[in-house]
Every structure is written in structure tokens, then in C-alpha cells.
Symmetry: D2
Subunit: 366 residues, 4 copies
Amino acid sequence: MPVMMKAAVFVEPGRIDIVDKPIPDVGPNDALIRITTTTICGTDIHILKGEYPVAPGLTIGHEPVGIIEKLGSAVTGYQEGQRVIAGAICPNFNSYAAQDGVPSQDGSYLAAMGLCGCHGYQATAGWRFGNKIDGTQAEYVLVPDAQANLAPVPDGLTDEQVLMCPDIMSTGFKGAENANIRIGDVVAVFAQGPIGLCATAGARLLGASTIIAVDGNSHRLDVARALGADVTLNFRDCDVVDEILRLTGGRGVDSAIEALGLQSTFLSALRVLKPGGTLSSLGVYSEDLKIPVSAFAAGLGDHKINTALCPGGKERMRRLMNVIQSGRVDLGVMVTHQYKLENIVEAYDLFAHQRDNVLKVAVKPA
Amino acid sequence: MPVMMKAAVFVEPGRIDIVDKPIPDVGPNDALIRITTTTICGTDIHILKGEYPVAPGLTIGHEPVGIIEKLGSAVTGYQEGQRVIAGAICPNFNSYAAQDGVPSQDGSYLAAMGLCGCHGYQATAGWRFGNKIDGTQAEYVLVPDAQANLAPVPDGLTDEQVLMCPDIMSTGFKGAENANIRIGDVVAVFAQGPIGLCATAGARLLGASTIIAVDGNSHRLDVARALGADVTLNFRDCDVVDEILRLTGGRGVDSAIEALGLQSTFLSALRVLKPGGTLSSLGVYSEDLKIPVSAFAAGLGDHKINTALCPGGKERMRRLMNVIQSGRVDLGVMVTHQYKLENIVEAYDLFAHQRDNVLKVAVKPA
Amino acid sequence: MPVMMKAAVFVEPGRIDIVDKPIPDVGPNDALIRITTTTICGTDIHILKGEYPVAPGLTIGHEPVGIIEKLGSAVTGYQEGQRVIAGAICPNFNSYAAQDGVPSQDGSYLAAMGLCGCHGYQATAGWRFGNKIDGTQAEYVLVPDAQANLAPVPDGLTDEQVLMCPDIMSTGFKGAENANIRIGDVVAVFAQGPIGLCATAGARLLGASTIIAVDGNSHRLDVARALGADVTLNFRDCDVVDEILRLTGGRGVDSAIEALGLQSTFLSALRVLKPGGTLSSLGVYSEDLKIPVSAFAAGLGDHKINTALCPGGKERMRRLMNVIQSGRVDLGVMVTHQYKLENIVEAYDLFAHQRDNVLKVAVKPA
Amino acid sequence: MPVMMKAAVFVEPGRIDIVDKPIPDVGPNDALIRITTTTICGTDIHILKGEYPVAPGLTIGHEPVGIIEKLGSAVTGYQEGQRVIAGAICPNFNSYAAQDGVPSQDGSYLAAMGLCGCHGYQATAGWRFGNKIDGTQAEYVLVPDAQANLAPVPDGLTDEQVLMCPDIMSTGFKGAENANIRIGDVVAVFAQGPIGLCATAGARLLGASTIIAVDGNSHRLDVARALGADVTLNFRDCDVVDEILRLTGGRGVDSAIEALGLQSTFLSALRVLKPGGTLSSLGVYSEDLKIPVSAFAAGLGDHKINTALCPGGKERMRRLMNVIQSGRVDLGVMVTHQYKLENIVEAYDLFAHQRDNVLKVAVKPA
């Protein structure tokens, strides 16, 4: 086995480079994965632009599909050579936060470094790959807490078919799960980027009767329809709030899913929500949110607002791959482009500028 | 039986008067209640000040304790002369909204007047007494949908003991119910006015292990302690957010209940909330809310925000009176003053200015 | 308008006759519906055989599709001439039981007659049509608590398309709702009669990844596959428990739905259930159930067993019709035969003996 | 440090002996605890009698309070010398079952030995101490998956105060949690042994308004009253079912908790349950259960039956100790007797025969 590998690292705002790095050592609870396919996420673009700070030299990327190269001595039930994925969020399931129901919010490894409170809760700290530890845009990645996080890929599924599981599908589906969808519901999904598209597919899967997908990009609205939207609204062509209220006879939607992270989409989601409805928020907000009293019924509307970070863990990955394997949804259609790892800078450029109707890019080290 | 009655009506901003009004006719699904005790709510102060608009001439007040004077022809299972209460919110339980789980948000009677959408959802429209129809600060009140809303008072409970059930207790307890409290939780309750005090009592009743009550009034903090708070914090004496984070070892609280309706209390509630925690909001906000990205983990903190309007209905009232009857909590201590209906203007003055450690005022027509 | 109507009444065990009856008077909260289509339920067969006792002379049937002929004086928001359905279970939503979350278990009208406890809970007492009051196998039916129970049929839906909503679809879907289905689940549905088929369709709608349908009738298994089953098992061809454990790699299913009411199906459902799984029971049991300790993990398996009676009410009906209208499922395929009301005895005979691959029979008075 | 220790081992049915055993080696994810206090559980009596089979030579007992003697190399955040407890059930939180929400049902370590299905679900297999691995009635115990299971004891709490946390309190409180208790509920708890007493205390803590405790031992009923029961019924003095129906005006209880494991208690629990209510079962059943159709409303009563195995894990233990520390309940009163480990055979005899009003026995190695 080689000792060095290629990895895409953050150098400085605006610059990601392919560099040589040592292949990491494997501790008793780790696993080393040889990446066969990974991808680029919107978050990576924020990192590239310097909007989300990571340590210079860190390997970025958090969506691994690959082969187990080496298992830690305490990891059982897997074999080297096995095809696996791991979640973008690799929680420590032994932590207080995980046992408390929020594994993605566990910061126990930060706590071990004295960086957060004694019980180890730290918002978003369950996200480690390409954030706090080296990520997946490399030839190899070290998976911590491997016993909890390695999920074998069922035979017959391609890398592309499961490439959305670690992040986009897990996040988008969580958005649908958080929306409290019941049979017969009307659900509106604001923004149809990769996560919004998965939220649309998830809302369909969970039994919504009418799904209204909103975006300003007609190609994405077409994909939304293919993934389960009943109605698509282009905000360039209509007043979305008015139109949704009209479509629902003034009642509003039972659930609204926000999948972008802007004041405008959040506010539209709230404005179309019936009293008693649920706003499921997935977006990463970069500015303070304002909630007008009128949209919020002065706090008396029995509204629910739920936010989420992508769920991880091998059981979550297993379930998402079940969905793929059963043919319920085909998210392979979202992988529109393919690049070699050595050309990842080019892939970043395409993805960041949303050229050529790109949705997601498969990146392959070999 | 007389044909006229005394009633406290809204005349114009700043002015409530006692006037003579006809005792209303009783339709098939109504009941006429002779009020024995009612009270004044913070909302009534907003009405008095003109901050919340109601029609001039409307009888205000929404918390009835009294005797059934006359039953509608289609109302069964009650007797004239029976002691009853009814919720501040008197929903139409035949409505779509009620069957959908949010009776307080039903506007079907507004819909019947063409004032809201076809399915009759209308935020807060379940609130009728002293808002859309004549209220309880009068000798008699007409209860609509009486079959759903009249709740017999168990023998042995005084008017004062059940006077909080229609609104304050139902609302405050809902705040605790909406907080997703589990055994061993730490819960912070921001503001200890009547509703906050009931939220504190409710959090105690639902199993919170540590309850932190916050206010700027030391008398109210003493009452909070008597009703179940383990720790009281006066925001005049400390930085509440810092102190709560210190008390929880940096972890934050599992649930935060906001019981005032200000930007500052909402924000403090969010700032002390652990990732994955629930913010239960009870306040009536009169200004737009701002949610700083930092307090909200950029939308990635698995936070839940739940708002509520006071639940009504006879089953709710029955359950709350069970709590009183079992001796679990004694909210009679919150009734600090008593006035005759004819002196209600004086009572408003005391209550609006929070003089003399007033918490709630019993108002008696006779 | 005529004063007499045709109705199918229970005469004695083994005998149902078409007789002439007066068209009932309409009280303030009632509505008179002119039936355009109704159907026969398995429960009606039990009544016919004398296994479930009803009063001789009672009109049977509980699944109405029709036209509002006359509205009670206190019923608002509907028009005479409007096409409606009502649930098989017509609860009184003003009752304690309904406000407590179990409208189907309300016996308040029995309580009014002194036949059950003061709060009016009475198991299954929400079922009135063809049980306690005259039913739907007639030219007209009187709907009690009409404000809560009349659900307008959307334009464009045929009688046959909505004929399953009042009972079979509401019950079968409740079986799926009670099964706590999550994304990626494996669900087994035992028995594929009309209710089991709807449970299968419901499990598909709610996001199960693998649905295993079990029956002994290969035609019904074919329909199950058309409605969403991934795997069908004929218990005449295999040991169902062994086969399901094999299919799930020894893990068992996440949820099992029992849709027949026999010891054998209940037991199989329990035997294939993973520890921590949910058994959703829909069957009407006519004999005592035995639960072997071994299948029950001696009570230590974190199992959940949920039973249900068909949910009713206009909001439930509205939601189910939304599902139909959105094209999510087509239950019209289950209406395999059509009879005139005057020939209903013949229809009973066909349905009772499951001849000619019958699933459900449309019965039309005119 | 010594190399040998004293341990109480199962020899053959009817015989437990104190023997010398090697102190176990500590693997990377283990911790060795020096026991300061442990206790005897009803399950241990079943083991002693040979009714529940364990391997001869196994150290029994599953309720540890002690001091960390040695930590595995991969366990972080603890110090040797720290006082800790661990749950009776020590789950592997990295397992599929744990991530799926049922850690107590994980059999992944059995799966590793080829003893259960590939995903490692195995009913009750999360119970390891004194069942599959050496237990706590010894001078030392090896805690597996220590990172997930060691819970530091807050300063100021005695061994006796936290001795119920690992099993009795966690189980009894789970019975209350599984009962879906809401404000204003009436809850009946059948059997007031140690677990039933904790269920009574838990029901009180979770907000039940009326708690009816049932047993045949008047001393235990007195303790039940001290722990929160409002009404106590001795089944030797009355027909419990009749009496509970009378007390609830014919309505029945909202929730019934079974805490013994007999046909008779299960059936009484079902007979007093309102339609729509929840039966929370904690008992370990040694005979097949029979459910009469009449008590079960033929399967149509919207009943819920939930079973449970004691929850474990450090977060659970932390929460239970919070409850103790806050003074909400004092379970120290349940520790009625104390024995040295060397005299444990005598303690078994006392406990098995329920002599001298014994509830729980503290057993101390030193």
C-alpha cells in the first residue's frame, strides 16, 4: 500500500489545490476508506469562497463512496475490500448528544480538546469531514467512529446511485420528515437546488397529496416535477405567495419546506403556512432572519418551525439505500457531470456557477 | 328573568364603561351563562389601550365562571343551574381546523360571514369572547357551540380555584406541553407574569428536573419558586444568558419557554437553548422578531420553535380542573385582588399598572 | 319530495329484505342525503349472519355517497343539491372523547340515553350508521352531526372513486398510519381483503421501502402488487414467517399490519416483528387472542401494538379525497361489481361468498 | 492491584456461591469498575431458581455503583477514581438497533458471535451484565462500550440514592413514559413491587392527576402513597376493576401500567382502560397471555399496548440522577436492607421471600 495520496485542500479564500498528503494511520475505532466517488456540496463552495472558515491545508469534501482499505482493531462486522458509504455527518453515537436524540449536534471530540461544554453539545459539531478533520475529496479518507458510521452498499447499486445518500438525500429527506406530513397534506418546497429537490422527493415519499415546488430556474422545476412535484411555480413568473394561497383556496399549506437559506424564501414559507402548520427549514442562513409579526400571527398561530442538520450514521445510510434499492426514487438523475479528482478545480468552477444545468458532480480519484 | 344586564364595553381607546345591554337570545347550540366570577387579562389591557382593535360597544373579557341560566334546544347532558366554566377560546369542534388538530385556529364562523378562506382556517379566530362576540365582563354571557365548550365545575372547587383554567392556566400549561419536556430536563421560563408562572407550574408538573425562572420582579420570582421553580434569576441582577449557560455547564437548557412577547426575551430563550432543544413561545409579539444567525446556528442546530394559542374546549377544561382538584397545583394564590363588576374600571387601572403585587383580579357581577 | 323510501333492513339472522320506510325528519344538526352509491362491508356480512347483533328492522350499510336533499336549520356552509360523502363513523366532535383524540370511541349519544358512562366513552360507539341508527343501504340516510361529517366531493371524481373513502380506505390507511412507518422501513401486511389492500396502498403512500403482502388468494395478491406491494406471499405456498425472516436477513419487519382478525394472522404478524417494531391491528377479532411468551419476548421486546377503529369526520374525508384526486392511488379498481339496491340480496350473496373475484360492490338506489 | 476478586456466581438452579475469579482484562473500549454498592433484582431470583437460564459460573447482578479502577485506551473524558454508575442494560450505541431507537434490543455482540441476524437485533440482548457477561455482584465488573455507558455520579449523592437508577428507576419510569401520560390523566399502576413503585413515582412526575396504585401488600401500598399515589387499592379487599370503573365514573383510566407480568394483572389493566387508552406493560411474563375479545373491544378500541425493556446508556443515567438530585423523588427509601457481598446468599433468601417488608437490598463488597 502507498503511503502518500492526492487530496483537494483549502489553501486560502478562492483557492483549492490538489496536494500530496500522507495516508493517515488507523486507530482502533477508525476505518480507512479508498474513495471511489465523491462529490462537491454547496457548503464546499462557501468554504472555497472563504465564507465558511476551515483550517488552511484541510482536505475538503464530506460525501464518501468507497472501499474499506483498513479497519481499526476494535471495529467488527466489516471486511476489508467491502464497498461502503458513510454519512457527511459522522457522529459519535456514544456521546450524550447522540443518546439524547441529536447526534449531529455532538461536539464530544471538541470537548475532548477543551473546545466546548462538558457534555459536548456543540451546534453542527457532528460534521467532521472537510470541516474539522480531513475530508473525502482525496484518494483516501479516515472514518472516525467507524463502527457507527460505515454502511455497506447493497450489491447492484452504482456509486452514482448512492452518492446522494451521505448528505443531499439525508438532508432533503430530513426536511420532509421534519415537516410533519400527513396523508392528504399540501406541501410547498421553496428552492429546488439539490437539497430542495430531495425534499420534494421526500415529501412525495411521505404521502403529501399536493406538492408545490418553487424556484427561479425552469430546468430545476422540470427535475422537481420528475421527482414528485404536482405543481411548479417559477418566482420570476408569478407572486408565489399569492399563487399558493389561491391554489389552496386561501387555506395555506400544511407544511412549507425552506431549502435555500434566504430571508425571502423563509418569509414566503411562513406567509403561505396555515395556522397550525409546520415550517421545516433546511437552509444555511448567512444573515439574520426577520420574522414579521403579521406572518407569524403575533406568535399565536400554533406554528411550528423546525431546523435540521443532515442526519448521519450507518442506520440512516442503510435506510436511504433501501429507498434507492426499492426503486422508490432515482436520485442518480441528479448526478449530471463527472470529473477526475485531478480536475476538481474545474468541477468547482462549473458547480459554483451552476453552468450547463449542473445539479451534482461525481468526482473520481481513479 | 330580567331582559337587561350590566356589561363592561370598549368605548374608545383608553375607555371602558359599564353599560346596560339586552341579555342575548339563546340559539339551539348556545348556552346563556350567568357570570359569578370573571377576570381581566393582559390582552384586555391591549384592547383598552387601543393596541388591539375591537368593535366599539363590544363587551370584553374572556374568562367565564358561572351558572347555566338557559340551554339551547339542541344542547344535551347539562342542566340549568349547573356551575360551569368555558375556555377563553371557544372553538367550533365541528370545523375542519378542529378536526385537523388546531381548534383554536378555526375561523369557520368568520368563513360563514365571508371573512376568511373556504376551509375556515384563520389564525387566532377560535378566540371569540370579547374579541368577535360579546365577552364575559358582564352579568351574562352567551356561549356558542355550548355542547363542546361547557365544562361542569367539580363540587368543592371555588370560583377562584378554577378562574385561571379558561385562559392563563390553559395557555401556560400549553407552553410547557409544547416544550417537549422529558424526565431530567432543564427548562428555563422567561417572564413570570401570570402566564409565565403557569408555564413554570406546568413544567414542574411535566417532569422537568431543573426549572429556571427569569423575571425582573422579585415578588413574581418568589411566586415562581412557590409554584415549582428551582432557580430564580432577576435580570436586573445578572446577565441571564451567561448565568444559565454557567448553571448548565455550557450545555444550555433542553427547553426554553418565552412568556412575554419581546425581542429580548425571545432572543435570550434562543441563546440559552442547547442544539436540538425546543423553544416554546407563548408571548404576543407586537414588533417584528429578529433572529440572529449566531443564536440560530445558521439554521443548522436542530432547533424547534413552537408557538401556541390557548387551547379551549370542555375536555381541556375538565383536565385542568382535575389538576386543581388533585391538589397538584394551587393557582388560587394567583388571585390577589377582588372587585365588583361595577368597579371594574378601577380594577383595570390596578392591573394595568401592576400595583400592589397584583397577579390576577377576580371580578364579580353580584 | 316523497315521504317513503326503499331500505335494506336486517330482519333476522340470515335475512335482509328491501322494505318501505318513512323518509326521516331532519333535526337542526342533521342532514338528509339522497344516496347515489353505497356498498356492502364485511361487517354487514357479520350482521346478516347474526354474528353481530343489530335491532331487527334497522337499515344497514354505512358507506354513503350522495346528494344533500335537506339541511338542518343549524347546519351552515353547505347547499342542498351538493354532492357529499360522510364517514362510516360519524362522530360527535363536540364530545369529550373527540376532544380527547378518539372521536370514533365516543358514546355521548348513548350516554344521553343512559347507556354508557357520564363522559360518554364507549368502544366503537362512534359507529352509528347501520349499527345504532338507520344506515345507507337505502334511498335516503339521515346524517347526524352533519356540520362535522358532511364532506363535499371535488368535481371530477366519480362515485366509484370516492366510495372507499368512508370506511375501507380510512380504515386501511389508519392501519398504515398506526404502524409508525419511517423512510426505509420493511412492512408486512397480513391479509389482502379490501382493508388489507388499502393498508398496503397506505404503507406505500407513507414511505415504506419494502412492502410484503400476504394472503391465500392469488388474485388479491395481484391487486396488492398493483397497489404497491413489492413482494407477495401466498400462505398456501410457503411458511410465511420463515420466508419473511429470510427476506429480512433475520432482522424481522419494522411494522406488521394485521387486517383480518384471526389468531393466526395476529400471531404471524408478531412473529415477524423486530424487537422495537409496531404491530398495527385492524382486524375485528371474534375469538380471544393468545399471545405466546416467545413471540412477545416475555414482554421485554419494546413492542408496540396499536388497534384502531375507522376514523371519520369531514376533515378525514377531505384528506382521503385529496389523495384520490391527486392520483396517488386509484381505489376505483377495487369496485368490481355493481348492483341496484333492489337486487342487494343478490349482491350480499356474491360478496359473502367472495365469488367472481369480487372486492367491493357498488350499490345504487336509482 | 490484586488479580483475583470475589464474585457471586450462578452454580446450578437453587444455588449461588461466592467464588474467586480473576479480575478481567480491560480492552480499548472497556472500563473496569470497583463495585461499592450493588443490589439484587427480581430477575436474579428467576436466575437463582433456574427459571431464566444463564451459564453456570457466570457472575450475576446488573446494577453497578462504583469507582473507575481502569479505563480502556480508547475511552476519553473520564478519570480513574471517578464515581460512576452504568445501566443494567449496557447497549452498544454504535449498533443498528441503537441508531434505530431501540438500544436495549441490540444483539450486535451476539451477531459478532454468529448468534443472531446480520443487523444484530435480538430481543433483550442489550442486557449483558449477569446475563451474557459477568455481572455486578462482585468486587469488580468490566463495563463494555464504556464510552457510552459510564455515568459520573454528581457530588453529594450517596450510593443508596443512585442505586435504583441502573434498573428499577429506569424501568419504572419507562413504564410511565410509555403510558402517554397527559395533563389531567387518570393512571392505574398494577403491582407495587420496586418497579411498580417507580412507575407510580414516574407517573406522578409526568403529570398524571390521579394515580391509582394496586397491590395486595398493604405496606407496599403505603410506600406507593408516599411516592405519589392518590388512591391505593388492595386487591384482597375489593374487586379492583369494579372499583376503578366506579372511581372514574365508568370512563376508565387514560393509562394503565402493568408491573408484574401475570395474566391477571395484564387483564385487569386492559379491563379498566378507556377506549383510546394506553396499556404500558413492564412485567416479565412467564406464561402465554390471553386477551379476551371483550376486554379488547374486538380489536376496535383504539387501544395501544407498549412493552419495554429498561433503557440504559450514560445520558439516561444522567437524567435519572438529575431527578434524584433535584429532590423530585427520593428512591433511597426503597433501599430497606444492607448486606455484605460475602453474605449475599442470605440477602437472596430475604429478598426472594419478601420478608421483613424488604423492597431492595444494598449489597456492598467492602
